[in-house]
Amino acid sequence: MFNANEGNRVKIIKDGLEYRGIVMPSPKSKDTLVLKLASGYNIGIKIDEKTKIEIMGDEKFSISKPKRSLGERESEKTKRDLVKKSLPKVSIISTGGTIASRVDYRTGAVTSQFKAEDIMRAIPELSDIATYDSEIPFNILSENMSPKHWIKLARLTYDKIKKGSYGVIITHGTDTMGFTSSSLSFMLRTPVPVVLVGSQRSSDRPSSDSYVNAICAARVATSDISEVSVVMHGSTSDDFCLIHGGTKVRKMHTSRRDAFHSVNSSPLGRVIYPGLEIEEFQPHKRRGEEELRLYDKLEERCALIKFYPGADPNIIDFYVDDGYKGLVIEGTGLGHVSSEWIPQLKADIPIVITSQCIYGRVCDRVYGTGREMLKAGVIEGEDMLPETALTKLMWVLGQTDDLEEVRSLMQKNIVGEITRSSITS
């Protein structure tokens, strides 16, 4: 309907009023044009037959690197920092979560930065902690992750450590970070820290938690805590980050900075900001204590089912008939489903029961239904998070298909996913 394109500098005359500005990416409906005025404001103009559009020129939209206000010296300093010999070498693996990004104020476009040098420029404090190399295996939102991505990440992390990384940081979207951290925990035995980090407020805003999270993650990656962990804000303030064990962590809030909690276990420790001191809450694996190993087989055909009052037990038949090799059920309370489900629980595949209470340990020996479930063959998931029980089941089935061995492995602590006793926190 109109001839102006994105990036055109235009003059629009409508109802006797003249608007000047740059044409912005506009909505799909053909009759509206989004204009960025000289003041920086965007407005939407409905274009009708009487509207006149005059193209005045073009504005280049490619996002160029901004000139440094402090001159060339600074970028030389950045380069120098990158090769600072005395600092340990840390690998950053970016999966699409934005650890650092830049806004183009003309277009409003937010670009994520993954190259080590770009990240360093956005968060200069990182260069006091380590030197970095970076890699981008894929660039996706965390809800689009799948076991295939977890395997790819495990292999890449393994390679980085093998090549001498002193620690690995994985930037990750927060939605499914707990799944990735627990699956990596099972697939990798690591002699160095492997830290997952993300942010709840996008890093294009000055208030983003990504800066503090990234700095604290770098601190943990160069520490002695040689486990797969998640490092995220521990409170709504910028005062410390918690270090969560990779199998015990869950996103417990949709939007707050301190959404990540350690469940049925205390966090491994915390990093105080801005001093970056580490306080340890729990014993952890020391640097070099574990030998580097990779168990990168996962049985992907496993499912997590949530039970609710009135839920139809045929859902189990559906999965079994479809060739699934294992199921995790998120039951009620101590780990229950309705007695109507008992016949289906007798299926030939392992069925692990966990609780939708999230907090606490399952126990199917207290009530009649539970005892019948046990008789039908379900495996109690102890105090594992339902998500962790799922990734563990995938991993266990990747290692063995012996049902008794599966049962025994599922109930045995391997990497901190099951605690011996339920602590009071």
Partner: protein, 599 residues
Amino acid sequence: MLNYEELGFKAGLEVHQQLNTGGKLFCRCPTILRDEKEVRYTLRRYLRASESELGEIDRAAREEEKIDRKITYIGYDTTCLVENDEEPPRPLNEEALEISLVVASLLRMKVVDWVYVMRKTVIDGSNTAGFQRTAFVASDGVIESNMGDVGIDTLCLEEDAAQKLREDKGEVTYSLDRLGIPLIEMGTAAEIRSPMHGREIAEKLGMVLRSTGRVKRGIGTIRQDVNVSIRGGARVEIKGVQNLRSIEEVMEKEVLRQIELLKVRDELKNRGATAEREIFDLSDLLKSNSFAINLKGFNGFERLEKEFSDRVKKFGLEIYDLDKSDLARLKERMNIKEEDLVFLIEGEKKKVLNALNSVLDRAEAALKGIPEETRRALPDGTTEYLRPLPGSARMYPETDIEPVFIDPDRLKRILNNLPELIDERKKRYMEGYSLNEDLAGLIAKSEKFKLFEEIMEIYDLPATLVVRTLETTVQDLRRDRVKVDNLSKDHFISIFKNLAEGKIAKEGIPEILRFFAEDPDRYIDEVIERSGKMDLSGAEEIIEEIVQEKLDFIKERGKGSFSPLMGLVMRKLRGKVDGKVVGEILEKKISESVSQTDR
């Protein structure tokens, strides 16, 4: 008086008005202010300018970022995760949008088809997110005034910032209650012709805003920024002008400042002054971490020295007072001449160097003329340096909020139902009710104007009495700390009903209002009872008593004793009986006494 036209005076106003909506612009929290003592939680945060702001684009953000600050926020049970920057914003508040469309229509502005919410980068901490959300709603309007119409260039709907409570040692504390209250921001064209004109325009804009009946009132609910320049000078933005009278004063004083600074520039040129970027480290001669600059040819300009010291103050530093012996020691090292101005600062090295560089920037600008900058209005009408003018490119789209389509039918409906302007209402009251200008103005701008009209419709009472009761009397009572906020429409109507029926006297109104304020649930009959309504015989007794007491006085003054005695009687009766009736009784009694003594 200055000839502003000759000076090439140009000025514009920016008005920020809080809206009296049920919820905030991007969440459902109430738009009320709280006492700091009611604190429920605190947050401590840091803000960081993202990369591109540190490029050439924005000098204001860059300068703010140089000052490393820890920010504390105070929250209440009336602030939520949106204010805390812990939850995405809710959709744009429809009520606020509606009010902004009404104001735009009153100013004959053109409304955009789609309203887009933007993020305007502000990293001083006043917004938890590091940006203020703002949306362009309308442009191209006009405000009429006696001294000349002025264009209204823009009307934006934005969220108010958090209120700064205190700042010390690089730590700043903000209160979250104000953050997110909807604001209308209006900018006039630079068509204001004189400071007096500026004041008139500000008054008119305030009147238009209040005419909607949906804006907040009271201290701090409307804030004005002033833009001033003269020929050869520079555009200077002055923030936070507190009231209308100050607008005039601030504009006048800014013109004087610019005139003087232009003179200073000419004199500096004559002297061949230079601002050499050499910073002397004097740690060996004086205290450690002492640094100085020598501004050659800059000595003797008081006005300019204040500008320099404002810059230093911004870094929380003080200029070291040089005595003669110090000067003698430095003279050779720094090559100081009679006409030179020396600045010596001592403190944390990074801060001192930043401050001295800022002074050098200002000195360089002084050689060219006047720098464009943002200044802060002070209570005495003068201003101090705040920061450079912000660049225009600090905005990017707020992707969490969908653009809003403004349906032309909605605009038509608003246009057909525009509220009456307070000025028009005042005129109508002067003509229709024969009120004088003051009283007509008082009730026209009052929230009780509808109640006034209703009362005038039902009861046959003098308009003056009704206005005085609704406005002056209530104000007097408020000053007496009576809880007048408890007074409702029904209270007033019941009073006027009884007044019209002659059941109470107008002198008794304050007393009845006082009772209602204390005990709002009472019926008027009880209140009249309790406030001790007196029958005429009781009144006659009291009058008789006073007349007997003052018999000598009456004999002496005859009928001239009426006025002093009337005052005495009314005080004693405390308005429980109509003054007119009391007057008649008293007059009768006086003439009786006079005639008795005559006999």
